[in-house]
Symmetry: C2
Subunit: 700 residues, 2 copies
């Protein structure tokens, strides 16, 4: 780090001259590049006109020497400015791009409207070619889906600390909206475990769901509204990439942690515990369970019932995996369990012996809840924050699920359209008494396996759930809550992906750290901390990789003019008297510039590096810095290159720079470094060796 001294009482003429030279040099250089601009433009025009007919240029090619090539580099065009880069970047995902708009403008109004509608509602595209055979498959998979969805929805609603009917409501409107707006064919929309747990853990911190159930419910609906707005706006602004900021590894860890937590929370239902903690971390939950055991406030019948049906569901699933014949049995086993358990309780009147039952579920259509959204509540800020986090997690889950099934079927999922669809799904959901819906992991798999072909299966499921809400809610009066716990527990293993965790460990240790960080954070602290840890570790990894302060020695590969890392390619040949060095990092900046400079000096000074001790190093006469890895350089980096050059000159070693990227070469020019190192900037390493008289050329 060198501060150019503009010190009050200094009077060193050399330093002053140096600074003045730097400033003059810059203006000189800009003139120089102006005069070259003309030549440049001519050349550009020529190449553009000759285009693909390269025969024209062959004569020219022969005459191109390293001097001219190095001039291409040192006097090239200016790279796009920072603003231009940002604008380009934004254009990439901004509102409909200029191209799209201009192609639209050429068409008549009706076509433009049709285009827009088709883009907004993919249903308009696929419904024309919809066939009866497709409907048969969709009907079958929709009914299967509904049989799984009804018990799961009731279970997830209790997980979200809402009345059971809200889970069912969430399985009616959102699937219908998604069916007309979404681009995924398999995604089963509705309440999911992780989001339910997340929403209850975050909103219960604002109000107590036990004390103020109506306010709690309204805040949940408001959070859903915000989640929808966040999703829709992100999609419309084409900010789909934001979803990617929760890395794959982090998601694996987060999902597993959430699954374990949800599993522990199900102990409440499975054991029929009355007083249970509101907190989500494992320590609190285990303490709460222990306390219940201690005070005998749990009921063995609940446990018996729950674990019996859990075994039933798991066994049918195992059979279904082994033999395709049993697949439908596996899919509807939760519904069978509910029916059997309900009948059992009704017949034996087990509820009088301490078995907890659902009791009343309010039937009928989704009530309108627009007036219940709490926009004037004092909690609005917190609720908006909750909405943001839930929206992001819900989107990430839906995209992960949707993409993996789209990849199997070989079609592409448009991230931004998906975001808009999910956003409207939740916005409309929040005004029709639905809490946050997203793509369910387990149900999407069932939908896919049952052979769904289009989003019509979602519509079939929604209508079935609606009918159940209208007709059968009274039949669920005697359904034991332990059965809901079993159904939730049965869905959890799919969220824990040990194979993938092992795969991440094998491929990248830092990624695995992010995964474990998310897992431990969710498990022992809170859901938000888990997410925070995961995102922090992921970005820390990016920083560490970008500034890793290493250098590698390059050698020429036999049969080519290419220079590669001698450790990676043991067959690479090093040239006596010449040391070719490349930075391992992609940035030469404040954080690593000094370290790298010192390392190069050390390397030269000592003349050896472990195994690869070659005596010629001690008579190194030329150091070639291959800058091709560098994406960027900052003022500290430039200062350290300058200092390196000075140090090398004092040792009698020449220094040449090879192939700086556009931004880097521009900065080297701006700061006059190119002329300070005597213009020794080349396009290729071979050119640098050819041009430096000191280097022994025998070996080339």
């Amino acid at each position: 780090m060198v501060l150019v001294p503009s010190i009050p009482v200094t009077q060193d003429p050399a330093a002053a001259a140096d600074v003045a030279a730097a400033r003059d040099g810059e203006t000189q250089l800009s003139k120089f590049s102006q005069t070259l601009q003309h030549h440049q433009q001519q050349q550009q025009a020529r190449v553009a006109s000759s285009g693909n007919k390269e025969a024209d240029t062959v004569d020219h090619e022969k005459t191109v020497g390293h001097a001219e090539r190095s001039q291409w580099l040192t006097t090239g065009l200016e790279p796009p400015s920072t603003w231009r880069e940002v604008a380009d970047y934004l254009r990439g995902f901004g509102l409909p791009s200029g191209r799209e708009l201009s192609s639209l403008n050429k068409k008549p109004v009706t076509q433009r409207v049709a285009c827009f509608l088709k883009a907004m509602f993919p249903v308009l595209q696929w419904c024309r070619s919809y066939k009866l055979t497709q409907f048969k498959n969709d009907l079958m998979s929709g009914l299967t889906l509904a049989s799984l969805c009804i018990p799961q929805s009731i279970g997830y609603a209790t997980l979200a600390k809402l009345d059971p009917q809200y889970g069912l409501y969430t399985s009616v409107v959102p699937p219908l909206i998604y069916a007309v707006m979404g681009t995924s064919k398999e995604l089963a929309i509705g309440p999911v475990a992780v989001v339910s747990m997340l929403i209850s853990s975050m909103v219960s911190r604002i109000v107590n769901p036990g004390a103020e159930p109506a306010l709690y419910r309204n805040l949940v609906l408001t959070a859903t509204f915000f989640a929808g707005v966040f999703q829709a706006v992100s999609g419309l602004l084409r900010l789909g990439f934001l979803v990617d900021f929760l890395s794959h590894a982090a998601l694996v860890g987060f999902m597993a942690g959430a699954a374990v937590i949800i599993g522990f929370q199900q102990l409440k239902g499975l054991l029929g515990i009355t007083h249970f903690t509101n907190r989500t971390d494992v320590v609190s939950v285990v303490k709460s369970v222990c306390r219940s055991f201690h005070h005998d406030s749990w009921n063995p019948y609940n446990f018996l019932l729950g674990s019996a049906f859990l075994s039933f569901i798991l066994i049918t699933r195992f059979l279904g995996r082994r033999n395709k014949k049993f697949f439908f049995l596996a899919a509807i086993s939760p519904l069978i369990s509910v029916i059997l358990a309900t009948v059992l309780v009704f017949v034996t009147r087990a509820d009088e012996h301490g078995v907890k039952i659902i009791k009343h579920i309010k039937g009928g259509l989704n009530p309108i809840s627009a007036q219940q959204l709490q926009f004037t509540s004092p909690y609005i800020g917190e609720v908006a924050r909750v909405g943001l986090i839930i929206g992001a997690v819900a989107l990430t889950e839906a995209m992960a699920v949707g993409r993996s099934f789209a990849a199997i079927k070989g079609y592409h999922l448009d991230g931004n359209k998906e975001m808009v669809a999910m956003g409207f799904t939740n916005i409309i959901g929040s005004i029709t008494s639905c809490y946050t819906a997203t793509g369910s992991f387990s149900r999407t798999a069932v939908n896919f396996s049952a052979g769904c072909e289009t989003p019509v299966s979602n519509i079939v499921m929604a209508i079935t759930v609606l009918m159940a809400l209208q007709l059968f809610t009274r039949l669920l009066y005697y359904t034991p809550t332990a059965i809901l716990a079993s159904i939730i527990l049965a869905a959890l293993p799919g969220l824990i992906d040990l194979h993938e965790a092992y795969h991440i460990w094998k491929v990248d240790k830092m990624d695995f750290l992010a995964c474990i960080g998310a897992f431990v954070g969710v498990l022992f602290v809170s859901v938000e901390i888990g997410l925070l840890v995961a995102v922090t570790v992921s970005f820390l990894k990016i920083i560490l990789i970008s500034i890793q302060p290493g250098i590698e020695t390059l050698g020429r590969l036999p049969g080519t003019d290419m220079f590669c890392n001698v450790d990676q390619y043991p067959m690479a040949i090093m040239i006596p008297g010449v040391m070719v060095v490349r930075f391992k990092s992609s940035l030469l900046c404040f954080a690593n510039a000094n370290f790298i400079r010192e390392r190069i000096m050390e390397w030269i000074g000592r003349g050896d590096e472990g195994e690869r001790k070659i005596d010629d190093f001690q008579t190194t006469q030329l150091i070639i810095l291959d800058l091709s890895n560098l994406m960027s350089i900052d003022t500290s980096g430039i200062a350290s290159l300058e200092e390196l050059h000075k140090n090398l000159v004092s040792l009698g070693v020449e220094m040449a720079i090879v192939n700086p990227k556009w931004q880097v070469s521009h900065k080297l020019r701006l700061t006059n470094l190119m002329s300070k190192i005597g213009g020794k900037v080349f396009l290729t390493i071979k050119d640098a060796i050819d041009a430096c008289p000191n280097a022994k050329l025998a070996s080339i």
Copy 2:
């Protein structure tokens, strides 16, 4: 982001087969590479033995085809593991390296001790060849330094809210310690403005210096001790690079912000205000000044005196810059001001008319303060944190100043030795009643200009200050405080480097943002926030550059086999039917992989990219991904490459990968991606074009 589906109720045989194939493939591959290992090792041995005599390999070179080269890449050695990389990295800056130790072990004990002592105390090296002529220069510069140092030290002590003698103490012991341990020849050690301000602003937040002056002083000494320990330990562990984390741009902004704040605080002394705010931000200070004006609690005589001597100092400095003759006048003008002002006040008894004076300064040697360090205080944690921040800032300033002057004289400053020297300076300082000392910006410049040759000038200065402490402190009784404010104000312009700020703006807009962030943060919030903003922006820049989601099209440069960005090199020739694409970022990871994949698909799908519309793009038959920029790839990146390949295959376009770096090619192999894309991995773009039958080769 793709979650490999290990979903409970799934039964898709294709997907299962896919996963199984992936796992099998890996084991197969590892066997394959084992068999190749032998061949590899042979080849390696041959190259190593032939060494520089390349004639042997010429025959072989001719026969090397692209197939063999591609095999080098696909079946190469494993890259060093993460642990190995970390170990290598640590070895680079750990305690004395193995090499150093082994060379030491060969020598007898006395030589080893001598080596160690020479390394710890550079004075042992230069004192042998010390000459009388050098001493003459050092004496002169040391006396000049003392004349500037005495008034500045008193001023900075008041800035640190300590009694004036503590500033003088800090100019006695630290320069002596540094003189025997430091490696810089010019650095003038003692109290400095920024550190004084920083220490007072941070420790006053722990205890009120007005209410508990003794405790406050003890905490300042304790913080100094911690700062010293932090510096020494960092140096001994060779963590010198930590200093670099405060980037050059951030330091420029931070210094300027601190200078402005210190300037505003001097209004207290200059206006003779009695009640002044303890806070450091500009808003509080300006409010405090306005309140004083409003209540007439300021005194115009103070202002007159202060501004008169400020003008005197500034004019002499201006003269000194213009003409070397006046340099010494400029250097001693602060001392002259003090003497004149003191005489003036003594003669006119202006202190009775409201001119504030220093009054009593305790003379004598530095008292021992070891028993005053507060290790058992309840504030220990906070004080340690303060020590850490102050230690870092003091080090950064000293290194920046030291390095810039070392660069002018053309010698090298060993960062780690400097850290150890500064550390011991402050540790010993803290037990001899000194607060944090570091290299002063303005005094180092004076020392340099006065012609110092060795650290002896620091010793001369320390002895002079010591004599002043012993003999002349009583004479300073009538020195007006306004004169101290003038002296501090006069030193500030050197901290504000507008030229450098403009330079940063020109070179890098993001760096400038860090600079401005530090400036605004220090000015309007607090010193720590300023530092935090600067560090955050600096690292945010690293992340943004590393994940910038762009791609660039490459063309062949005439006369070479090299492919470069067609925007940077307009003369580059594109090959019809082949699109060569390189990622702009150095990482293909969760944050940009999907975006980049979508961009490539968009580019191909549309067949144009703004100006460079070439019809042949629409018949692109081969996409070559040049991975040479990629330092790292994570699971998301690999998944997106796989998806890209699938999408391209469905469009009938071939995809080839060129020149993945070591880590990247290893991961591609680990995840079996290399075989999934049909083994189309090549070392050079030319090889890829040669190997793909679909590509039109006419143009090569």
